[in-house]
């Protein structure tokens, strides 16, 4: 069955450093992959989408890579700030109706 894995343990990063989150998947060949941010008590908020033929996508301090050979996406936040602390979810687009298949998310904690 399709499986998506994200770091289950919280990631603690010092302010100003680059945070890197990993999303691995198996038994799947998605055409698109999306990253979302979720704060406690709120719904996920879309951050970035990357297509299978794109190696890298950037938006301000965010960068996403997509390696279809390794079946992995990396999500980077450069110059991290305490306000970046949240849970980050990756989601693969799949199925005949473009449903999102979600990872469990990685909790990121940026320490001042």
């Amino acid at each position: 069955s399709q499986k998506i894995e994200q770091n289950s343990e919280a990631l603690n990063i010092q302010e100003g450093k680059t945070a890197t989150l990993t999303c691995n998947y198996t038994n799947y060949s998605p055409a698109y992959l999306q990253w979302y941010r979720q704060d406690p008590g709120r719904g996920p908020v879309f951050l970035l989408l990357i297509r299978e033929n794109e190696k890298e996508k950037r938006k301000e301090r965010l960068k996403v890579t997509f390696d279809t050979t390794l079946k992995q996406s990396l999500f980077h936040i450069t110059a991290s700030q305490p306000a970046d602390s949240a849970t980050y979810l990756c989601a693969l687009v799949g199925g005949s109706n473009y449903q999102l298949i979600w990872g469990a998310g990685t909790k990121l904690i940026i320490k001042p």
Partner: protein, 115 residues
């Protein structure tokens, strides 16, 4: 632009009781989703509507869950009777159309506790 609205924000019920959640998507969005998110997990799709038709409800426990989207705008999700394992956050999302390139816009969710 107003976001996705959901109500109530919180609900506590006893097992075997019934409960209903309401969602109003972003105006003009054709696709509406209901998700269940258990603590520590990613959202799980329950049902997907395109306008007022069901596109996918393969993961909806149809013996107890039902959903409708009359007139292709707002939607309700009902659980009857509730079980302890239904305790979760129920998220509603919408997108302009069904496409892999469309982001989904989420409401704040309804936190359900079944005692």
């Amino acid at each position: 632009e107003a976001g996705v609205a959901q109500s109530p924000r919180y609900k506590i019920i006893e097992k075997r009781q019934s409960v209903a959640f309401w969602c109003n998507p972003i105006s003009g969005h054709a696709t509406l989703y209901w998700y269940q998110q258990i603590l520590g997990q990613g959202p799980k799709l329950l049902i997907q509507f395109q306008n007022n038709g069901v596109v996918d409800d393969s993961q909806l426990p149809k013996d107890r869950f039902s959903a409708e989207r009359l007139k292709g705008v707002d939607s309700t999700l009902k659980i009857q009777p509730a079980k302890l394992e239904d305790s979760a956050v129920y998220l509603c999302a919408s997108s302009p159309r069904t496409s892999g390139e469309n982001e989904q816009f989420f409401g704040p969710g309804t936190r359900l506790t079944v005692l």
